[in-house]
């Protein structure tokens, strides 16, 4: 790395690290994983810097690299479980209550997302936040479009359930 490269790289890091770390946190289950993905992603960003087209938005470009890194991270760990985690009463008793989400801050939502199974979180991120279509997600993750849809809907329901539990509507543990 020469001085110029280093300057550019450091500059990019200083400017976008915070935002990109937020992206990493969304895709991972905890801070350690987020840091791993971040490191991996920045290596990729460094390697691809020369190939970067000046006309594209660098923030978006970096975010895309981070997202792909996160997907690969879980794929390599072979922990993506797209099987349903059935909890028979969760998915159909409740109507979708959007109010639960509207009051949440990003931190609170993030906190709930960390409790999602990896597969749910991945699809939820890609669909609800990154704005990919289910067809595109299916291609990216090599799954069925239907799986992507159902994972997304389950993720929503589970988040809602988690939100209610964590907002104190329900108690998880019997108080001592």
């Amino acid at each position: 790395m020469n001085q110029k490269q280093k300057d550019i790289f450091s500059d990019l890091y200083r400017k976008y690290a915070s935002y990109l770390y937020g992206v990493c946190l969304r895709y991972t289950k905890d801070k350690e994983d987020a840091e791993d993905v971040m490191q991996e992603g920045f290596i990729k960003i460094y390697n691809a810097l020369e190939a970067f087209r000046g006309d594209a938005n660098i923030k978006t470009w970096m975010q895309k690299i981070m997202v792909n890194t996160a997907i690969n991270f879980y794929r390599h760990k072979k922990v993506i479980d797209f099987q349903s985690i059935e909890k028979s009463d969760v998915y159909w008793l409740k109507s979708d209550n959007e109010d639960v989400f509207s009051t949440l801050t990003a931190e609170e939502l993030l906190n709930l997302m960390h409790d999602l199974p990896d597969g749910y979180r991945l699809v939820f991120n890609l669909y609800a936040i990154e704005g990919y279509k289910h067809r595109e997600i299916a291609e990216m993750l090599n799954i069925n479009e239907g799986t992507s849809k159902s994972q997304y809907s389950k993720a929503r329901k589970m988040l809602q359930e988690l939100a209610e539990v964590k907002l104190g509507i329900k108690e998880i543990n019997v108080a001592l």
Binding site: Q39, I43, I85, F101, E107, L109, G146, K149, I172, V174
Partner: protein, 467 residues
């Protein structure tokens, strides 16, 4: 809705751990070095620049850093003091002493107890209890001491689940003093026993000491675990379902009824309703009522609507024997919805094949229903009797609920404008714009407007006015 999620994170810039920058830089450096021979100068320069950069970063981030909370250390106090009340006597074995030393190290008690965060801490502690004390459970059974003919024994319940009180008694009343480690509140009862109270899950060692002997008794105050389960009915069929139980914090479950647990899983279940009873190693018991449903992924689609016309909401639901699956509705016009019941507004008239995909684990099935949507057409009566008899005195039309714009004209057959109105709720009472009754005869009514999808409608109808 999805936009809201997106917006939430648009400006989400959490604080990055400071060490991360160096890690990243190191990693990049390492990688470039492996492809290029390094020069010592460069390394030296690098070291200097890293230090300089860290300094810069540190000054940038330092002021905000001061009020950052450290979630790991917050709210916890470690007990490092010597136990105050544990009497030091010869009768303590070295093993006992070693154990107490461990206790001092491992027991941490959260200081707060109201918020969810603290609740988590309690679970942490609980987990700690579960993992670190497990081996000790069996050998912490207390032994009666017999010295100088004084024989007594402490009797009580060793595991206290979800309660904060423990009662200990002496098998024989002998004068002596109670103490505990860690120190907890306790009250001596009439018969020289104690009732001890704690606030948090913990392990407490109670000691009763007489002039010549002492006996100890360990009580575990534990929280019941949070029991969850996963249901799998893999065949999409009728038997061989399995239920896997999980607890948080991790507990070893023993089934109290006849089911055999293997790795917390009960296998070969047929669709049925089951009542499971468990206990864990702390003798906390759990009950769970679980239904292993038949995966009957079938049913019929029901529809309901005021009008099967474009612009009107059509309500969909499903009749089926089981509802234990996910539903994806395809309305045949490219739109999609999830859920057992849903509604949809068709923008254009036509024939649509509504498909409902029922999904459960590896199984899925699609059922269909054909639905015909007609053009959004208002109802135009063709006879009108404005004679103040209370019947049909006002000429009204029904328009699509979602009409965005609306106007209605009445013209005589020569094309003169007789009356007009723009509020769909209003109508024509048989008077002209000048307020006088118009003569009997035939008139032309014209309605025009746009529905919410900007679909333009225009209808004309000849009506007969009879007084």
């Amino acid at each position: 809705m999805e936009n809201t999620f997106k917006q939430k994170f648009e400006n989400f810039e959490p604080e990055v751990p400071q060490k991360l920058f160096n890690q990243v830089l190191d990693a990049v450096e390492k990688q470039t070095q492996s492809s290029r021979p390094k020069s010592t100068n460069a390394v030296l320069w690098l070291a200097v620049s890293i230090v300089a950069f860290v300094a810069v970063i540190a000054t940038i981030y330092w002021p905000t850093k001061t009020d950052v909370k450290h979630p790991v250390t917050e709210n916890k106090t470690s007990i490092t003091k010597e136990p105050i009340n544990v009497p030091k006597t010869e009768s303590l074995t070295t093993e006992d002493q070693a154990r107490r030393k461990n206790e001092q190290k491992s027991i941490e008690i959260p200081t707060g107890n109201s918020s969810a965060k603290n609740n988590d801490k309690a679970i942490d502690l609980n987990q700690k209890l579960a993992s670190s004390e497990q081996e000790e459970i069996n050998n912490s059974v207390s032994l009666a001491e017999e010295i100088s003919g004084v024989k007594f024994q402490i009797i009580g319940q060793r595991f206290v689940c979800d309660a904060n009180k423990a009662e200990l008694k002496l098998s024989k009343i002998v004068e002596g003093t109670w103490s505990s480690y860690p120190t907890v509140d306790f009250k001596t009862t009439k018969d020289n026993g104690i009732i001890a109270k704690v606030k948090n899950p913990c392990k407490v060692l109670f000691t009763y000491q007489t002039r010549t002997a002492q006996d100890t008794f360990t009580v575990f105050f534990v929280k019941s675990a949070n029991l969850t389960y996963t249901l799998v009915n893999e065949d999409c069929g009728e038997e061989n379902g399995s239920i896997t139980f999980a607890t948080k914090p991790n507990r070893q479950l023993k089934s109290e009824n006849t089911y055999i647990l293997n790795n917390n899983t009960i296998e070969h279940l047929i669709p049925n309703r089951f009542n499971f009873r468990f206990s864990d190693q702390y003798q906390c018991s759990y009950m769970l009522d679980v239904e292993m449903p038949e995966d009957n992924l079938d049913g019929t689609i029901n529809t309901q609507a005021m009008e099967y016309r474009s612009g009107f909401p059509i309500y969909f639901d499903l009749s089926s024997s089981s509802k234990n699956f996910d539903c994806i509705w395809n309305f045949g016009d490219g739109e999609q919805q999830y859920g057992l019941t849903t509604e949809h507004v068709y923008k254009e008239p036509g024939e649509y094949k509504v498909q409902l995909q029922l999904i459960k684990a590896n199984c899925n099935n699609t059922i269909e229903k054909l639905i015909v949507i007609e053009e959004a057409k208002p109802k135009l009566p063709n006879v009108f009797t404005p004679n103040n008899d209370g019947k049909n005195d006002v000429y009204q039309v029904s328009v699509p609920e979602n009409a965005k714009t609306f106007e209605a004209f009445v013209m005589d057959l020569k094309g003169h404008l007789i009356y007009k109105w723009e509020d769909p709720k209003q109508g024509w009472d048989g008077r002209g714009l000048d307020g006088g009754d118009v003569p009997e005869g035939a008139y032309l009514v014209v309605l025009r407007g746009k529905d919410s999808t900007n679909h333009v409608f225009e209808y004309k109808s000849l009506i007969e006015l009879i007084r």
